[in-house]
């Protein structure tokens, strides 16, 4: 099953290369991502019912944590491909991109899906290869619009993330060395299950240094401050569905990598070391994101800095730890993926309508766009963590965990930053949503495909805000067991 999960996106990418017309490419893309989602969900259900599954001589595997990541990737990935139908149609019609660019978009979209799913199912330190691949395959998505600024963004992205990922490889090698000391040579030494089993015998100093390299390395991709500098550039330059893929899905893959090593390190040197590092990076990201959100003049960059903020919150959740903190962090990963993709869809609709990314030039979205306007307001409320939307629930869970684990000062600081971000963020949303649209902007909304994709996400945002289905709850609890290495 896992093999099909990886095969489908690659095949889709190959077919997209061969396709000749726009319609063929778009249909193939949609069919491919639907198939990916179906297989992905099948695996998720399989893992949920029968526990860990492995494939291809243990090289690939899926436990509850990977299944949870696969759930996020395949679900959000599917919705993004629905949105792409409408978005790319508009770009083609208005001659913003040509057939060649469309092809590049779809090919690398699916290769990106492949690499991200590989992150989820790689059963060893080969995880590094998958994360490096996500960088390489997502970089072309940033240069779909061949402007000076997007080339600059893509170059920064490639260079900064390559350096980060190289540092992470060093951490990986050190971890492997620590494992080899205990387990002896051979590929078996690398599987997650084996590593967790013997992690308490690892050399503590070695693991500490390894984790520092890992958190700085993968943290670069997860958008931790101060390594986040590529993130707003890349997010603002990529086309909206590409940004949704980067911010909603890809960023979680890097987080997943950090947390895998967090589990091992916590077992090798005790939980304080890696937890404190996570809390530190979490707070730093929150703190640095705050002024940039308040002073922002470009709405795509605004949402990008909000991703920095939310990854900081996820890191805080994992750092606070315990069942509650980890639960909150995992839930927040899902909620952020859904809500942030939604926000970038909104951003995409607005940019196509107004033709600018400047907050000051966008006014009266509620009047000019009958559906996107209210969605901008609702999404703005949801992403800043107001009740009754899903992010509110996970943020409250994380903050409660912080208080329960007696991390009073970090929690207080986090609350302060969140309130400041709420005020700053909503100030911008107000400006964009209300008053009258500038002259020359006609009334009319995005295509049905785009709005349909947004409605799917809206359902998740609203429903998870008031009620968590028991299946999802149990699913996350199983992932919590994996992350905290309890119940094994």
């Amino acid at each position: 099953m896992i093999r099909y999960l990886l095969l489908i996106p690659v095949l889709t990418a190959i077919f997209c290369i061969l396709a000749r017309t726009e319609n063929q490419i778009k249909t193939l893309g949609l069919v491919g991502s639907t198939a990916t989602m179906i297989v992905g969900l099948t695996i998720v259900i399989d893992v949920f019912r029968h526990g860990t599954i492995t494939s291809w001589e243990n090289m690939l595997f899926a436990d509850a944590f990977s299944a949870y990541l696969i759930l996020i990737i395949s679900l959000v990935g599917f919705v993004i491909s629905v949105y792409s139908m409408g978005y790319m149609d508009h770009e083609i019609k208005h001659d913003v991109i040509d057939l060649k660019r469309l092809k590049i978009y779809y090919v690398f979209y699916h290769l990106g899906m492949f690499s991200m799913l590989l992150v989820g199912v790689a059963n060893d330190l080969g995880l590094w290869i998958a994360i490096e691949m996500t960088t390489l395959f997502s970089a072309p998505l940033i240069v779909i619009y061949t402007k000076r600024s997007s080339i600059e963004a893509a170059w920064k992205y490639l260079i900064i993330c390559s350096v980060g990922i190289t540092l992470a490889l060093f951490g990986t090698i050190l971890t492997y060395y620590a494992a080899v000391q205990v387990l002896g040579e051979g590929a078996d030494a690398l599987s997650w299950t084996n590593l967790i089993g013997v992690a308490d015998q690892f050399d503590p100093t070695l693991m500490k240094i390894a984790f520092v390299f890992i958190i700085v390395g993968y943290g670069t991709k997860a958008g931790f401050t101060p390594m986040h500098t590529w993130l707003p550039d890349a997010y603002s330059e990529a086309p909206a569905p590409g940004t949704a893929l980067l911010s909603g899905v890809l960023i979680n893959c890097a987080m997943y990598g950090i947390i895998r090593f967090h589990t091992i390190t916590a077992k090798a040197v005790g939980p304080e070391f890696s937890s404190n590092l996570l809390i530190m990076f979490g707070l730093l990201s929150l703190g640095i994101a705050t002024p940039f959100i308040i002073m922002q003049s470009d709405y795509k960059r605004l949402f990008a800095y909000s991703s920095v903020e939310h990854m900081g919150i996820v890191a805080l959740g994992f750092g606070f730890g315990g069942p509650l903190g980890t639960f909150g962090a995992l839930l927040h990963m899902f909620n952020h993926a859904v809500t942030k993709s939604f926000m970038f869809f909104v951003a995409g609709n607005i940019r196509q309508k107004y033709g600018t990314k400047k907050i000051d030039s966008v006014t009266g979205v509620v009047k000019s766009m009958r559906y996107t306007g209210p969605m901008l307001v609702l999404g703005g409320l949801a992403i800043t963590g107001s009740p009754p939307f899903s992010i509110f629930i996970s943020e409250i869970t994380i903050l409660t965990a912080g208080l329960m684990q007696a991390h009073i000062i970090p929690t207080a600081l986090a609350i302060m930053f969140m309130i400041m971000i709420f005020a700053g963020f909503f100030n911008h949303i107000n400006k964009m949503a209300l008053s009258t649209p500038p002259e020359g902007v006609t009334v009319g909304d995005a295509s049905k495909w785009s709005l349909g994709a947004m409605i799917i996400l809206m359902v998740f945002i609203v429903v998870l805000g008031v009620y968590i289905p028991s299946q999802l709850y149990e699913m996350i609890m199983k992932a919590v067991d994996v992350v905290n290495a309890t119940g094994m």
Binding site: G126, I129, R148, E152, A153, T166, F170, I173, V180, E185
Partner: protein, 219 residues
């Protein structure tokens, strides 16, 4: 003398030469010299892999040695030379930090890495200095990246970092499992190709490969 002792003696010499090649790269003001230094370094790495394979009797490491030789000592330098010829890049490297301070900083980084490596107290059988040199290359590569203006030399910095990692992996653990190793090689090659394409794009759009021109996205 056993195979292990011979290997150990050879390793010390090779690792010292790798450090020298890193400084050759750091101290050169010409692009071709830098690329040649990198090729030379990769050649030495391939030798090291072969020595490790010989003295531990693990034949799959010979494959890693061969891959290093073909990919890093031949193909990647070739790609570099080709890109710089096609673009007509100026031979002279432009720097933010001049050569003599660069070399001093390089020396400082080696000292720091050596102390850091001592702190880990890793017991490497084949060479005591592998980890120190590996870390030095990591940091020097990073320094090359931030102190050079041209996109091509920044790529070279990443490659030096990667070579450093390779040295660490091969001498600490006798390499990662083969499949992981091959994956890493594949990634390195794709990275160079994609970055190469990007360099062409930068050149086409900005009419320079000077990354100092990429300065519009701030805040």
């Amino acid at each position: 003398m056993s195979e292990f002792d011979i290997g150990s003696g050879l390793m010390q010499a090779l690792i010292a030469m790798i450090l020298v090649s890193t400084f050759m790269l750091l101290g050169s003001k010409r692009l071709y010299t830098s690329v040649r230094a990198f090729g030379f370094q990769s050649l030495l790495l391939a030798f090291i892999a072969a020595v490790v394979a010989y003295s531990t009797g693990r034949s799959e490491i010979y494959i890693v040695a061969l891959l290093t030789l073909i990919l890093k000592a031949v193909i990647i330098p070739y790609i570099f030379i080709k890109i710089s010829r096609d673009l007509g890049v100026k031979r002279e490297i432009e720097l933010y930090v001049n050569i003599s301070p660069s070399l001093l900083i390089g020396g400082l980084l080696v000292v720091i890495s050596h102390n850091l490596a001592q702190a880990i107290s890793v017991n490497t059988q084949l060479s005591n200095y592998a980890l120190s040199v590996s870390m030095s290359m990591l940091f020097i590569g990073l320094f090359v990246m931030i102190s050079r203006k041209k996109a091509l030399t920044q790529m070279l910095g990443i490659l030096v970092m990667e070579n450093g990692l390779f040295l660490g992996a091969i001498s600490l653990t006798y390499g990662m499992p083969l499949i992981v190793e091959i994956g890493i090689f594949f990634d390195a090659l794709v990275a160079i190709l994609i970055m190469g394409i990007m360099v062409f794009r930068i050149n086409k759009t900005f009419e320079t490969v000077d990354t100092a021109a990429l300065d519009t996205l701030i805040g």
